[in-house]
Subunit: 183 residues, 2 copies
Amino acid sequence: MRADARRKREAIIAAAVEVFRERGVEIALDEVARRANVGIATLYRHFPTREALIAGAYRHEIGRLCGGADELLAAMPADEAMKAWMRRFIGNAQGKPGLAMALKSIVKATDAEGLAATHDEVYAALQKFLDAGYRDGIFASRIEAAVLANALSGISLANDAAGREAQAAAIIDLTVNGLRYPS
Amino acid sequence: MRADARRKREAIIAAAVEVFRERGVEIALDEVARRANVGIATLYRHFPTREALIAGAYRHEIGRLCGGADELLAAMPADEAMKAWMRRFIGNAQGKPGLAMALKSIVKATDAEGLAATHDEVYAALQKFLDAGYRDGIFASRIEAAVLANALSGISLANDAAGREAQAAAIIDLTVNGLRYPS
DNA sequence: TGCGAAGTGGAGGATTCCTCCATATCTTAG
DNA sequence: CTAAGATATGGAGGAATCCTCCACTTCGCA
């Protein structure tokens, strides 16, 4: 990728994040292009669909949210750590319209665009909790990280509005609780 | 509501179900109006937003899917019955674009439009499984039907594409399994 | 430095949204 | 039965949005 193309792409992402926060994900794409000082065609070349733009915009954010797994695991048992991590994850997504959808795209797409790395980050974080839980005998139910990622994406999708923290926390509890016992 | 208005409304819903199946939920609303032999304004009066139309279109379907709880409970333990019911529910939603979003609207809206009745049906079905499970000592974790409905909506949302039955089933297992043990 | 590949912007046709209001239809009271 | 008026209807059309096309610019390698 040429240097100028990379610069434009980053400008588009920055503008998109800003515009999405201010006005929602349904905003006209022209607005994003204008803010990024970029032609609309450039935006469309980098992100052929709205979904791709949303995923691109929140890729970094999701990557950032994936961090902190080790600290949590050091501080509490695996099940509690996983719950805390998920709560933080979803709490951050609430009120950020479209972030949940971005997560869905990223979970679905193993290789498309530049989403593969983020995809792996999400899976790796979840796998850490699973491994720790199995090691310490806290989790008994064998499960793929992919399934958990899918569940996480679902919980986000269903609770993307602000003020649903308690609801989301209840589902997280239920889900992680399910891991503690054989199925 | 006047008799002719009811007729038109039903024609719109029938057309919407048909068009959504054929061409997806993103179709232009004009197309739905044309198929229903109805002016576009009439459609907009009955369903002010696309989301409302989708929810309206699938309201009956969701109601239908809510049935069968008693039969399942008669045939197997509460946890297995709940899993089977959820699998059927989500299996039916897969490949029907928008049905998951309709479920989300219905779960969210306790009173809006004519969604309240369907909302109650969903909750009632889930409550039946919960009650049976508590009665027979199968479920130990106290939880609101609302939370389960929310989870169900999330699982649908995250797995609305066809061919994700196995993935969805795994999350259902995990979730229902979580109910069997105290949290 | 020159050249080809890669990237860019924005005009503009096509599509879609959604409101407005003149007209038509239904319902009910007398 | 009929008239009145409340309710419902259709579709034109302005505004917004989408997204493609292509002439032009810029980059980076040789």
